[in-house]
């Protein structure tokens, strides 16, 4: 029987200039599973109502675009807009990226995000592309891609924004943020850092919690791949990257980048990729912050 006390949170998920990797990562959520998120009460008495997601939803074409517009009308001010991928702005923006058509006219990703964001309860920019431009905005940024925050600045949109960067983001970072909203409402401003990332997930440097940290302190550095030792000389960006990967681990806890002997490439940072590349070159001294200091001090 339907539970009268059950309350929903409508979610509209727009894919812009993306590789779909953020969606695939969220499918990898372990507890709750993606089935729990989509079908069950993800928090007792509360469930997610996913209204639009191009990779998952059954429908196609005009009927789903009508559903998208209907959701925006019917759930105005109550839905969470998830944006995956950067937003192309070059030229006539619809030339570089459009999502469906209204009255036979293609609607740009820019216009879709701007109009849906204005009427949302909050916007989650999922992944580094949506948060900061990411790979899509790598030099020479062929499609003029920007993140959601920049779109908000340009269009004077003041809807609350939460950035969940990562290329891709860890599923827990997204599901945990969603659970925060379901349990306690929107995060308070001091729960987010200056890049609007939840401090709960992005509060410490990779380097602070790295299991190879002891090698660093002892000056034992891997010289080639497959060696034990700190990966600093193989290009690791752990010392300038804020994320809890070393504690949380990836894919059900089986591994993570540095765990597999591969240097961190700093994929959650606003400067990714251009300021973090080349990925296999040692950080220069002036790029190294004071190890272990808080992000404000850095």
């Amino acid at each position: 029987m339907a539970n009268a006390k059950n309350s929903e949170i409508p979610v509209v998920w727009l894919q812009c200039a993306t590789c779909t990797g953020c969606s695939v990562s969220v499918l990898n959520s372990v507890s709750p599973t993606i089935k729990n998120v989509l079908i069950d009460e993800v928090i007792p008495g509360k469930h997610v109502n996913l209204r639009f997601h191009a990779t998952v939803m059954a429908g196609a074409g005009n009927i789903v675009i009508e559903e998208l517009k209907e959701t925006a009308r019917r759930k105005k001010g109550n839905y969470i807009l998830v944006v995956e991928g950067a937003i192309p702005t070059k030229g006539n923006a619809a030339d570089y990226g459009s999502i469906g058509e209204d009255d036979g006219r293609e609607i740009s990703m820019l216009d879709r995000v701007a109009s849906l964001a204005s009427d949302a309860l909050a916007v989650v920019a999922l992944g580094t592309c949506a948060a900061f431009g990411g790979i899509a905005a790598g030099e020479p940024n062929p499609a003029g891609c920007i993140g959601v925050g920049e779109l908000f600045r340009r269009n004077n949109i003041s809807t609350p924004l939460i950035n969940i960067p990562g290329c891709p983001p860890h599923p827990d970072w997204f599901v945990g943020t969603l659970a925060r909203v379901l349990l306690l409402g929107l995060p308070k401003p001091d729960e987010l850092d200056e890049h609007k990332r939840p401090r709960a997930f992005y509060g410490q440097l990779i380097h602070e919690n790295c299991p190879r940290r002891a090698y660093f302190e002892e000056g034992k550095f891997a010289k080639k791949f497959g060696d034990p030792g700190c990966l600093n000389e193989l290009g690791c960006k752990g010392p300038v990257t804020y994320a809890d990967c070393p504690l949380r681990l990836w894919n059900g806890g089986v591994n993570w980048c540095i765990g597999s002997g591969s240097p961190c490439i700093g994929c959650v940072e606003p400067g990714f990729p251009d300021l973090l590349a080349p990925f296999y070159e040692k950080l220069t001294e002036d790029a190294l912050p004071n190890i272990g200091s808080s992000r404000e001090e850095v």
Partner: protein, 519 residues
């Protein structure tokens, strides 16, 4: 004349629009358009060549592993180390790629395609004790059916019992594909976007505990493939058997092969692989792969004409939006001047034609079950069946590679980045033949070109006017109900389109040329 426009086509990777012109319920002409441009190849220019495998994975988060393989094979060849990869490196790459393909094909059948055949709303009438089905019943009773409704209505043919079972498997498949990515990450570091595959080999070292952890996830997946995935594909095939005749396509198939058995042969077109390199047509006679026969045409694409086909290594991309006669930003790759389809069907058919006994047995067993000739493979259902059988073949082969790993021995070799070099990387990605080409100057990437599976499959007409494989598969199809064009989406999805791949370079989508009216 009427026109069916589907924008967006969903449950694929990326942004695709399909226009089909119909007359008396039959598709006379079909055109496909990608609706997103990023330009990863342009972003690669001037960068450190070693970083290529990191960037190219971001072309596609569904099939990043295949791109990392094509990129590292490409870099191995450019760095002159293609025949020096340690045994552990080769085996771990195979295991990582195999895990990716297993997870990807399960995702494709259940989460991208099944909702075209399975009616999730029928679970509302379920009376039983299965907890998964009861949770879906509760979900339906809440009255908000997103993301499963709205949808096309009218042609769901499975019995209530078969339908319920398929819905339960749809949910179970979420867990299984996740497990496939976990398995991959044991050696690949993380997914999506593995970090372990790199030029010279891999970064992860095999240990006994990792081998065991991998093996038992693999065993669970093999059980799912044998007892659920393949039986479900056959069950759908029985209920929708007309789809053995629908969506035939161009009848020519091309495979680059995959899973290196050794690395002594530098020439990737001749390297010993589990899945074979080559071509076949409807006669199923094996043709030798010759990459010099690949050329891309642009007469119907929005690029400046260059007279004739160009090999990808000499590719030119000079956008001309609004060019007369053009209707797509995707170029048209051709092999020996002809239209070729790529994908699991292609690599299985090529390997079948090469006489590989395990592939012959797998395919013949399905053909004999349906008392059908090999020609039915060229169809919507043929693609699904070939994909499922391929998944089994790979999963059943992987335990051997696991046992061949040698803990304690090297996983990669050193190399120097050359001042100047060129390279080529060929591998069959989940979705088909994937080629990467690189030119290095001053130790930087001067040019990087990818010709990807969905470019082959979703391309427009070429200079000779030959439509692309998907366009050909759609043309001639009878649409029973133009407001619910199941036939179109079922055909398209059988190709497993990946638009982020197909439009990795494709320069901006042009304005609507105003040639079509929405009906």
């Amino acid at each position: 004349m009427a026109k069916i426009i589907i924008d967006p086509v969903t449950r694929i990777e990326g942004h695709l629009k399909i226009e089909a012109v119909t007359e008396n319920g039959e598709i006379k002409e079909a055109r496909s358009t990608g609706t997103l441009f990023r330009g990863i190849e342009l972003i690669l220019q001037g960068r450190d060549p070693r970083d290529a495998q990191r960037y190219v994975q971001r072309i596609c988060g569904v099939c990043p592993t295949s791109h990392s393989m094509a990129a590292t094979l490409n870099l191995d060849s450019a760095f002159g180390i293609a025949d020096k990869i340690p045994g552990n490196g080769r085996l771990l790459r195979n295991l990582i790629l195999g895990a990716a393909h297993i997870a990807d094909h399960i995702l494709h059948f259940y989460h991208l395609c099944a909702l075209d055949y399975v009616d999730i709303t029928k679970v509302a009438s379920y009376q039983g004790n299965d907890s998964t089905l009861n949770s879906i019943k509760t979900f339906i009773e809440r009255g908000e059916l997103g993301p499963f409704v709205p949808r096309y209505e009218g042609d769901y043919r499975l019995s209530d019992e078969a339908n319920r079972q398929a819905v339960a498997h749809y949910v179970e498949a979420f867990h299984m594909r996740r497990k496939g990515q976990e398995m991959l990450s044991i050696f690949g570091g993380k997914m999506p976007h593995n970090c372990a595959i790199m030029p010279g080999g891999v970064t992860e070292v095999p240990t006994v505990d990792k081998i065991t952890a991998f093996l038992w996830r693999l065993n669970e997946l093999r059980d799912f493939i044998d007892n659920i995935y393949i039986p479900d594909v056959l069950m759908v095939a029985e209920a929708y058997s007309d789809y053995f005749e629908i969506g035939k396509g161009c009848g020519n198939l091309l495979s680059y092969g995959s899973f290196d058995l050794d690395i002594k042969e530098k020439d990737l077109t001749k390297r010993q692989r589990i899945l074979k390199q080559g071509t076949v047509s409807t006669d199923l006679k094996l043709g030798e792969l010759d990459t010099s026969k690949i050329a891309e045409y642009v007469k119907h694409s929005w690029y400046a004409d260059y007279g004739n086909g160009r090999h990808p290594a000499e590719g030119e991309t000079n956008p001309k939006p609004g060019k007369a006669g053009a209707y797509s930003w995707i170029k048209s790759p051709r092999y020996d001047g002809k239209v070729y389809e790529v994908g699991p069907l292609a690599r299985m058919a090529v390997t079948y034609a090469s006489g590989a006994p395990e592939v012959k047995d797998l395919i013949d067993s399905v053909l004999s079950r349906f008392k059908a000739p090999p020609s039915v493979l060229f169809s919507t259902l043929g693609r699904h069946a070939a994909r499922a059988l391929y998944t089994k073949l790979v999963a059943d082969t992987m335990p051997e590679w696991l046992l061949q790993l040698k803990p304690g021995e090297p996983v990669c070799v050193d190399y120097e980045i050359p001042e100047e070099a060129t390279g080529m990387g060929l591998v069959d990605a989940a979705r088909g033949a994937l080629g990467h080409w690189i030119e290095i100057k001053d130790k930087k990437i001067a040019n990087y070109q990818c010709v990807v599976p969905s470019t082959w499959n979703l391309c427009p007409r070429d200079d000779q006017g030959q439509p692309g494989p998907v366009e050909q598969a759609l043309t001639g199809t009878k649409i029973k109900d133009e407001t619910n064009p199941f036939e179109i989406v079922r055909i398209i999805r059988s190709f497993d389109p990946c638009l982020a791949c197909a439009v990795h370079l494709i320069t901006p989508k042009g304005k609507d040329m105003g040639r079509f009216q929405v009906c």
